[in-house]
Amino acid sequence: MNKLFALTLGILTAIGGFVDIGDLVTSAVVGSRFGLNLAWVLIVGVIGICLFAEMSGRVAAVSGRATFDLIRERLGPRVGLVNLLGSTAVTALTYVAEIGGVALAIQLAADISIYLLIPVIGALVWIVLWRVKFKLIENVFGISGLCLVVFGVAVAMLNPDWHEMGTQILQPTLPETETWATYLFYAVALFGAALTPYEVFFFSSGGVEEKWKPRDLADMRLNVFIGFPLGGLLSLSIAACASLVLLPAGIQVDSLGQVVLPVVVSLGKIGLIVALIGMFSATFGAACETGLSIGYSISQFFGWQWGKFVPPIKAARFHMIILVSTIAAIGILLTTVDPVMVTEYSVVFSAIALPLTYFPILLVCNDRRYMGKYVNGRLCNVLGTIYLVVIVAAALAAIPLMIITRVGQ
């Protein structure tokens, strides 16, 4: 019974913890401009994150070491450093976006200036990362993030034409008002949002924190292959909500308030309150994950003691990195930069950095010295290689598309 409870909890946490500010904003923007004609990218992205999260989880369970720990050893310090700089820069940008997202979610509920909220939220995130146990962070924010299911309920209550929605997903077309360049730009952004690098750093380091062993592989796979796709459905329902309410009205999402408008229209105040709790939990949980991921990747690269499984005094440099990056994130947000704009850039830069994260994972998973009999099978390698080609194509296309479309305009 306990085992079943733990498994259910793990899956629910994976569902609720899947969505972050990048998914919230990008899904709503895409839904409000393209309907569900880009939903296929979300499906491709979810399959990709399942594939690579399983690999990185397997690395953690079999070797007892996390991704960056092995990247430096496997690729050497120079290539490893390039990898570290690229991935950490993107994760730091995502951290800024997540803290800004928490502030925007609270602002919607309390009507307090985000510039008053940002330092308080930054401090709270840091205190949580310093004092609260890893499992508790993961479970509390993962479970409360499930409130985002309200977007799915809103879709059902809006009485959509299910056949039309299915057609848009399965036979996508280019809306008349858009160009191929913007279509491709948002395809890359959505792909980047689904495969954000911090997710695998957090997942594999979390595996080490929780002391996964090869016997835990089945549970880990259930979490990944059930939890992540169901989490992807949350993103899809956010896009569907936007496509049903905002697209016909001519609203193009550029604020978090517009993301919840379909829920307001469909379910009223109660729906709005549930959505705000979900958005707060999703962004706060993701802020914790990104903050930890920065600490994980830098500490693992330099071989410092890391993690929340040891007291903070024993992992002082790890906690110092988190503190410094939190202060930097607060500083950046207090320059009055728009958090939604930071989010939009973070998902595009995430797409650019994808090969730096996913190529080494594929490499390590094929190394018998680390993986023994748990090396990738043929199917895993074929899929991994296909995805790597897609990832490299998305990374190469991201900047030209960003310039051509003036960041998706």
Partner: protein, 153 residues
Amino acid sequence: MISAARLLLMAAAVAMAAGCAAPLADDGAFRVDALRTVQDARSQVVTTSLVLQSSTDDKVLATSANVIATTAVSQLDTVAGTFNSIEPPPAQDDLAKQVDDALQAAQSASRQALLAIRRGDLTQIPAIQEKVDRSAHKLEELEDQLSPEQAAS
């Protein structure tokens, strides 16, 4: 032979000069800017309209309504400000005036909507809602007029 440093300096000077030049758009580019402005403005006005309607129906928290409407009004001001900073080519003066008039009407209606939302003044809302919807409709007409299909025909 020009040294790399000199080449870099020249490139920087050209870039700076380009950045300082007044933005005088050609006819086509101006129409594209106008279309984008009208689309962005309509997006904000319709957002305000939806919030207004939701407030009337008691479907939205007062705090959320205020935040969403304030953001929409502020974005609308930014959109209008950016458009007004572009110098129209002489042949597009009429279009510039049309867009400017539509933007001013939208700004005025949106501000009244914001005040009504902040004050929770439900009696005023139907009249303001009509004003906001009318300005959204005007922007939609302009959008149709400026769309590439209309321009081609």
